[in-house]
Each structure stands twice: as C-alpha cells, then as structure tokens.
Amino acid sequence: MGLREDLERYREVGEAKREDLADFIQYGDLGQSLPDEIKVPIKIVDLPEFAYDQRDQGGVGQGDPDVGDPVGEPQPQPGDGDEDGDEPGEEGGEHDYYEMDPEEFAEELDDELGLDLEPKGKEVVEEKEGDFTDMTRTGPDSTLDFERMFKEGLKRKLAMDFDPDFLKEVLKIDGWGPDRAFQWARDNAINVSKPWLEETYDEIPDDERTEWRSIEEVEENVTRRSAAQKIREDGVRNVPFRTEDERYRYPEIVEEREKNVVVVNIRDVSGSMREKKRELVERTFTPLDWYLTGKYDNAEFVYIAHDAEAWEVEREDFFGIRSGGGTKISSAYELTAHVLDERYPWSDWNRYVFAAGDSENSRNDTGENVIPLMEEIPANLHAYVETQPDGKAINATHAEEVDDYFGDSSEVAVSYVNSPEDVTEAIYEILSTEAES
C-alpha cells in the first residue's frame, strides 16, 4: 500500500509545520515538554474548513441533569470524526505538538546551528555478561549445550555409519570375501570393521557367496543408501555421545562503552535575578539539557541554586526559586566540586558545568575563588551565561573576568544573553566551544 508513503508525508508535513526550532527555543512554550520528550508546537496540520464557532454551536448530551448545571468540556459530537474514520477528529489546533525525542532534537539542532558535537571524553568501559554464546569444555549441567553435543554425535555417526545391507551384498561377490571387501571399503572411505565383515560373511550361506560376478554388478543392482538416507528412513538410533563432544555454554564478555554525561546547572537566585533574567536562563539551559540528553547514552543532571550560599535542588524547583541574599558564585563551584567528586568521578563521566547569572559577584570572589575552582574541576566544558536584559550594571564583571582569564580556551565558554534573540547564539557559542577542540 501507499500508506507507508502517506504516513511519511504526514510526518514531513507535520515537521514542516512545526515551529522553527530556533524560534521555539527563543520564544516558544518550553513548559509543555518533558525532559525526554520535546513537544514543539505544530502550527496546524489538519486542513481548515468552514465550520461553526464551537462555543456558539452548543450541543446535545444524554443524562439527567438540571438546567443550568455545568457539563464540563463538550462531549465529542458526531461529525467531529469518529469510528468510520471519514474525518479525523479535530484535536484542537492550538494543542497540536510535534513530538521529538532528545536524539532528534540534538540532530535537528546540529543541523540548524551547524554544530557537530561528537560525544567524547571518557568512554567508560564496562564488562557485562552478554549472551551465552561462548563455549567451554566444562561447566554446570544446566549450561550443557545438548543440541551441539547431539549434532556432533550425529556427525560422527554419519561419518562412521555404513549401509550393512549393501556391504552384505559386496561380500557375496564371487571370490571377494571379507579381506577383499575390507580393502574395497577402505578405498571407498566406508567405516566398517574387519570383524563385522568376517562375522557377516560367516552368516551368509555358501550358495549365496557367489551371487555377484563383480562389484560393478552389485552397484548396478543394489541400491546403496547413504548414512543420511538411512537415518531418514530408519530414524536415529544410538547416536554416540562422547565426552569430547560436551560443550558448556558460557556468557560472552561484552565490553560496553557507555557515554555518560553529567550536567551541572548552576543558577544565581539572588535578589538581583528578576523574572526576565530567570526566563532567559531557562531558555538557555533547557535546550542545552535536551541536546546533551540526546547526544549521550546516559545523562544525569545536577541543579544548584546559589546566592551567597549554594544548595542542590530538584529540577522542577530550579527555575522558580528566588532568594533574597547576596551573591557569592564560588559557593556554587565549591558545591559542584563536592558533588562531582562524590557521585560523578571524572574517570567515568563526561562533565558539563553551566552557570548563569547577571555577572554580579562578591568583591574579588571571581578572581580569588571562582577561576581557580573552574581550573580545578575537571570537565569537558565550563560555561557561564550572563543575562543582563536591562543593560549592564557597573559592578557586574564576573563574565568579563572569566572571559579575559580563559580567553580562547576550548574548555570554557562565556556567552551573553540579553534577550530571547540571543539564546540560540549563546547555545551555539557554548556547544561549539567544545566541538572546536
């Protein structure tokens, strides 16, 4: 059927109609998505038609309520599309989403921003028990590969077995006898023992011992069955099992290289971080999280909020927190160092440390504490995102200091987000810093 193609076209149409990814990141409603399922609003997939205003239309229901009772959302009405499938139901234009998983998101973002980040750093080697496909000669009974043993036995039998009826006829060739027959069998790779031939010859009555004049005559007149034929016709009897055929299955050792990543999101929640700044941070961090989730096999996230002190929070709280205190960015890096050492050893984990704030910091904290800590904490990438939607405050120098110190380092990125338009640029800046190295 052409339906596969139609389905593909539908996906393409859906994708074409989804909001442009950059627009979505900058202005879209990120809140509908889950960490592992990104929902990009689709402009409208279904075809329009002349229709009644739904509210003005009202409807009919069944039941026994009183006039004036609320009925909840309108019940599906015939013609809205139903079991006959003569028309797909309206799922409400504004509620349609194009769903993508983080992998697709990362790919799309690569395309859109021209990124090419290959997950690198640690490739964690892990030994895992694979399938029971390796073999050893000893092992517990339950892992004995009986099938294999049977096959080996059968092979042996096939190799060794001979057609007794035919050999009996061979013995009846005038003037041959067991010796000559044995010689012939040997020449023809037939596994028959001399004693068997002698015994059989003894049983043949004298007058039959001269039945055939030559081997050619036997071959012409007697059907010779191969071992395989014989097994097929007579069934398998006495398959010889030998110890040497015993094989025990053993799990294969698989070396799995898992790409683990931990992303530490740090956010300044002090009094100076107002609504607009918070939103900009969320717009920058959330796509970064999705992107890295899509790029790595296993992604974990740590959320650290700080004012003058730092504490770890859950994701759902992270972007909403506001506190009153001052600002000391190094507190967050101290906590980061601690968390990473405890839970995410550098030998096993790729690490990303993203911090965001308005660049305000306690006097000298940046130079004396933060920069040394950033150098000390091993990570694929450190980034600082400065948000200053209302213009720069004079004492807000953290970003600049970090930028000046690290310069073009491929391990530290600094970017500035002052309005939603800057978000994609910042994301590009951050992700390309590592990719360039």
Binding site: M1, G2, L3, E5, D6, L7, E8, R9, Y10, R11, E12, V13, I44, V45, D46, L47, P48, E49, F50, A51, Y52, D53, Q54, R55, D56, Q57, G58, G59, V60, G61, Q62, G63, D64, P65, D66, V67, G68, D69, P70, V71, G72, E73, P74, Q75, P76, Q77, P78, G79, D82, E83, D84, G85, D86, P88, G89, G93
Partner: protein, 660 residues
C-alpha cells in the same frame, strides 16, 4: 480487489455464519447487496480505516495522519476496530482476524444491515445508479499518482492543489444528484450566451457601440463571470467552471491546467460518493445496531457461550462517550417501531364498540390487551419436539417447506428456529409491544395521538369486542414502517419526523450551550424542540455551516463572493480565514465572504456578569476579504446581509432565566 489468498482462507470458517446471517436478514425483510467478507490482520485493518475502507486511494498525507491517529488510539485505549464495511455493489466488509467468533458474528449481522441500507436508501442513489466505488477510487488514485510522477508537474504543487480542494470537500450540493463535469456544462453555457444576446438586444444599442464597447474581450469576460440567479451550493463545481489557479511566480490568475481541473473534479466526485454516508450517519448506524441486536440477541445468532462476549462488544460500541450516533439511531429506530405498533393497536382498539379517544384510557383494560397481544407460544418458543404444532400456522406464519425439512432432520431447529418462520411469523415473534421493557408504552399514548388516530376510524368497520380487534392487529406494521422510513429519509428528516418529547424524555437527552458569564458549558434545555434543533444543527449540511457562491463577478472586478447562510450560529472566523486562503488558490483572484457575527461589547458583558445573566449579543454583517496577501474585514449594512440571514430558524436553546 487485491488478491488475498491467505485471508480468504481464514475467512472460510466464517462462511457459514455469513450465509446464515444473510438468510436471516432476508427473512427479517432486509434486502442487502451481496457482501464479500475479508479477514485482515490488525495492521491491515488500521490501513483500511485510514483509507476510509478502501484499498487504493490517491497519495495524500491525510491518510497517513488518520493511520497515525488510529494507531495511537489503538495503543492508548486498547481500542479495537470491529468492522469496516464499504458502500459498494457488492459491498465489501473487513473483519479483524483477532476478533473472537462472537465478535465476528456480530460484525456480520451488523454488516448485512448496512449493506441493506446502502442498497435501499434513496440518498445512496444520488451518486450513481450503478455503483463501483472501489474501481472509481482506484482509478482516481492511479490518475493522481501519474500526475505526481510526471516530471513536468511539480509534485508539491499537486499536493497543495489537493489540499486546497479538500478544504471545500463538504461544500457541494449533496441534496442534488451528482452530475459529472460535462453533463453539467453543456446545458448551462447555451443558456448564458442566449441570455446575454437577448439583453444586448433589449438595450437597443447601435452596432458601432456594440462593436466598440462590447467587443469579444468583454463578451469573454462576461461569459467567465458566471451570472447567478440564485446562490450556487456546489462551490467546487463553480470553482471548476469559473475558477483560476493563482500562479505565485507571475502573481497572476492563470487558467487551470488539465490536471488541476481533473483532480478537482475527481475529488468532487469522491465527495458526492461519501456524502450519502455522511447524510445518514444516525440512521445507518442505528439501523445496523438495531438489526444486529435483533439477530444476535433476540434470534440468538450468538451461541450461548458467545453471548456474553457479544454483550460486552455491544456495550462497548453503544457506550462510547458523547453523543453516539449508534445509540441515538438505535433508540430512534426502536421508538419508530414502538410508536408505529402502538398506532396500529390503538387504531384497532378505537374501532371497538364503545371505545373513543376520550374514554380510551378509562375503558381499555391494558392488562387484558397485553395478554391478547401476547405472541403465539408456538412461535415464541419453537419446540423441536413438537413440530407438528406448527402445521396449523402454515403458510402465513410458518414456512411449510422448511418445516418439512426440519421434520426430515435437515434443519437444526434448536440452533436456527427462525428458519421455520415466515416474515410475518418473525414479526409476531419479535413484536415490540410484547417486550417487557415496552409494556407500558401502549398505556402512555397521548390524548392528542388518540384524537388524531380516531379521525380515520370509519363507522362501518366496528369490532364488537376487544378480542376481535386485537386478533386483527398486523404484527408486521412496525417493521414495514421501518423499511419504508429507511428508503426515503436522511438524518435531518429522520430526526425532524420522529423525535418527540416522549422520546427525549424517555432517553434523557438535553442541550447545552456556552455561557459567557460563567465561562463554561451549561445544560440549557430538555425540551424536545430544543434538542431537535440542536441535533438538526449537527446533522444538517454535514453539521457544517452552509456556504454558497453569491457572485462570481463581485463589484465587477471578477472577485468571488461567498455567502454564509447564517442560521444564528456564527462561523469559526479563524478557520474561515484559513479556508479562504485555500479558496483563493482555486479562484486565483480576490475572494470575499459575507457573514454575520455576534458581537458583545465589554460593558454589556460586564453588566450581564454582575446580574448573573447572559449578555445579548448584537448581530453584525461582515465582509471578510482576502486578496492573496492580506485579510480585511469590514462591517456590512444589514440590508447587504439580509439575503444570508435566516430568521425562521434559531438554534439558540438558552432559556431566558438560564442562570438565575
């Protein structure tokens, strides 16, 4: 039909149930098309559903969307597609492989009733006298595939063209028989030219003037700008005849290419083909549910062991949420049957000496009547051990030939007792007023009905006793009526004719409306007139607003003017705009839509809210215009929209003191 050796084989065990169901359906008075049954697996079923039941459709993403939704629905709800049957002669029905045998039997009985409906309802004759839908759709699929594969034609352009046409797929004149392109064109054109010549004559102009002003170019233009005596409902046909394609590159309206015209016409034909089903959804689904329940439940077509499964199946179909066409239809058919049977009994009783419409309830002993009406026990419970008892009922109620065969042991009477009965016998066996749930129905007849029936009672045909009157009751009356109704009605006339207060009350239907004041939907009315109005709104014109072409040369600028026939319910303006964009693609020049909208000013809304009332919206005429780039919307004087405003109907069912 594609070859399906594997599925055909799987269908073999279903051959017997299918044959028996056919025989039973015919005994019950149905006359279905022949049905070919196919057994398909789950995936194939989903594919068929996506294609509206057919195996070949033109390439389009919409089928992909339907498939995707169907699949997701299946995943999330465990939803099961029981049947799909297509309106064709012969009909084709698809059964899902994994259905239990009880489901399959139910589906088969259901399908037989659909096939009867397809074959007998007159709205299905509007499309064609000889139906070969599968072949037509396959032909369309091939043509469109060819166009798409044509290197001269941009595939995307074909897809977009299809999209644009599909936006107007319901804007046809479904109450008129379908006429193909060329049939339609011929007659019309001659008349137009003749009329124009006549008009020019009347103007009595000098030849020079005629030659200079009314040159050929002008005449051509006139010809194109179709003159409409009355609004054209078949918008697609109008666009096909007078529309142009908009060429985005040259920014000009160009004549439609051959493929554009052909595709438009093919899709229009498909619209007409599917229209009958859309026009008779309630009736058709209800009809199938009614006869399915008759055959499966009452005639025990499902074996005892299968019955539970069947009951479960039916519960799932009938208890889907929301207004369910199966349920509404089935209830309404049963109601028609009951009222018709009641009329028959009442009219017989009114002829009894001493019974009048005034004293009916006082003089008639309903218990006694019920006893007299009771189904003859010999056909109520056919006893395989005493077949001789049935002899006396041959030939009227018992089929003599089959009785002999049963005696000879050729018929399994235990399993198929109905085989011994005639149509009349079966009608008595299932006489609706004898069913327990309908016991009070006769008694509940209204004085009005009695008075009406009494008018037709002629004096010389009196019965001396109630016994005599009841003995004369025609048990087939109800079923005869059902078949008559299914011949001629569509959903709108069906609801209009048979939905009564008694029905609405018994089945607990109500209307609801959106309240601006409370911001949600509220129950508005349980009055049958209101329920009927709302239902009619949902089924008239496919439940869509009526849009017609009012002018093909609006303001003498070759612009298109569509009119929305306003019935008190306004358009979804956002969607209307998006649709107009598509209409532009098919007209090639600016398009206009006149409509009426309801406006509530904020102050009124606020005052109403404070008083717990609904604000009274003002109806304002509007002209929405799209010129290919932008929309404008301007107010129209009421005189300009009078012709689209219907004042005789009002679908608003909000009571005055609604929220008080």
């Amino acid at each position: 039909m594609r070859e399906r050796p594997r599925t055909e084989k799987a269908a073999e065990p279903l051959q017997e149930p299918a044959d028996e169901a056919r025989e039973l359906a015919q005994k019950l008075g149905l006359a279905p098309y022949d049905v070919n049954y196919w057994v398909v697996d789950y995936d194939e079923m989903n594919e068929l559903i996506a294609y509206n039941g057919f195996q070949q459709r033109y390439p389009h993403w919409r089928w992909g969307m339907q498939y995707d939704r169907q699949q997701k629905q299946g995943q999330y709800t465990g939803g099961k597609a029981f049947e799909i049957v297509i309106n064709d002669d012969p009909s084709h029905a698809f059964l899902q492989e994994s259905n239990a045998i009880a489901d399959q039997k139910a589906v088969i009985t259901h399908v037989e009733a659909h096939a009867d409906f397809f074959a007998r309802n007159r709205w299905y004759r509007m499309f064609a006298d000889e139906l070969d839908a599968a072949a037509m759709l396959e032909r369309h699929a091939r043509r469109i595939e060819e166009y798409m594969a044509d290197p001269e034609i941009d595939r995307e352009a074909v897809e977009q063209w299809i999209d644009s046409v599909l936006c107007l797929e319901d804007n046809i004149d479904q109450h008129e028989p379908f006429k193909r392109q060329y049939e339609r064109e011929e007659g019309d054109e001659d008349i137009e030219e003749a009329e124009l010549a006549e008009k020019l004559d009347e103007m009595d102009l000098s030849d020079e003037v005629v030659q200079q002003v009314f040159d050929e170019e002008f005449l051509d233009e006139q010809e194109e700008a179709a003159d409409l005596d009355e609004p054209e409902m078949d918008v697609l046909a109008f666009l096909r005849d007078h529309g142009k394609a908009y060429d985005a590159e040259t920014e000009k309206a160009e004549e439609m290419t051959e493929w554009q015209k052909e595709i438009l016409e093919m899709l229009r034909a498909e619209s007409y083909y599917f229209a009958a089903q859309k026009l008779t959804k309630v009736m058709n689904e209800g009809w199938a549910a009614y006869w399915e329940s008759m055959m499966m439940g009452e005639e025990a077509f499902a074996g005892d062991d299968e019955f539970l499964q069947y009951a479960d199946h039916q519960a799932r179909v009938l208890n889907s949420p929301g207004l369910n066409p199966y349920q509404l239809g089935k209830e309404l058919w049963e109601y028609v049957e009951n009222t018709e049977n009641r009329r028959e009994v009442a009219r017989k009783l009114l002829r009894v000496e001493g019974v009048t419409w005034r004293n009916f309830h006082d003089t008639v002993d309903f218990e006694r009547v019920q006893d007299l009406l009771a189904v003859d026990h010999r056909i109520d419970a056919v006893d395989p051990e005493n077949l001789d008892d049935l002899e006396a009922l041959v030939p009227e109620k018992v089929d003599g030939e089959n009785l002999d065969r049963a005696k000879a042991g050729e018929i399994d009477v235990e399993r198929y007792p109905w085989k011994l009965l005639t149509y009349a016998g079966l009608a008595e066996r299932h006489f609706s007023l004898c069913k327990r749930q309908n016991r009070g129905f006769l008694r509940s007849i209204s004085q009005q009905d009695l008075e009406r029936y009494a008018r037709y009672v002629v004096d010389d045909a009196r019965y001396a006793t109630v016994e005599e009157a009841i003995a004369d009751v025609e048990y087939t009356t109800g079923w005869d009526k059902l078949r008559e109704v299914r011949e001629s009605h569509n959903d709108v006339t069906f609801l209009d004719s048979f939905l009564t207060q008694e029905f609405v009350t018994d089945n607990e239907y109500f209307t609801y409306e959106f309240s601006r004041t409370t911001g949600d939907y509220r129950v508005a009315s349980t009055d049958y007139e209101d329920v009927k109005k709302k239902l009619m709104l949902q089924f008239t014109n496919f439940g869509k607003p009526t849009i017609a072409v009012y002018d093909g040369n609006y303001n003498n600028r070759n612009e298109l003017l569509l009119g929305h026939h306003y019935n008190g319910v306004m358009l979804d303006l956002q969607q209307a705009k998006r649709t107009l964009e598509r209409v532009f693609d098919l007209w090639g020049r600016p398009v206009n839509l006149k409509t009426i909208v309801k406006e509530v000013d904020d102050r009124d809304a606020e005052i109403a809210r404070r008083r717990d009332r609904e604000p009274d919206p003002e109806e304002v005429g509007k002209l929405l215009r799209y010129d290919g780039e932008e929309f404008t919307m301007e107010d129209l004087d009421w005189t300009e929209v009078e012709d689209v405003a219907a004042d005789e109907v009002d679908y608003d069912t909000k009571p005055d003191d609604w929220l008080a």
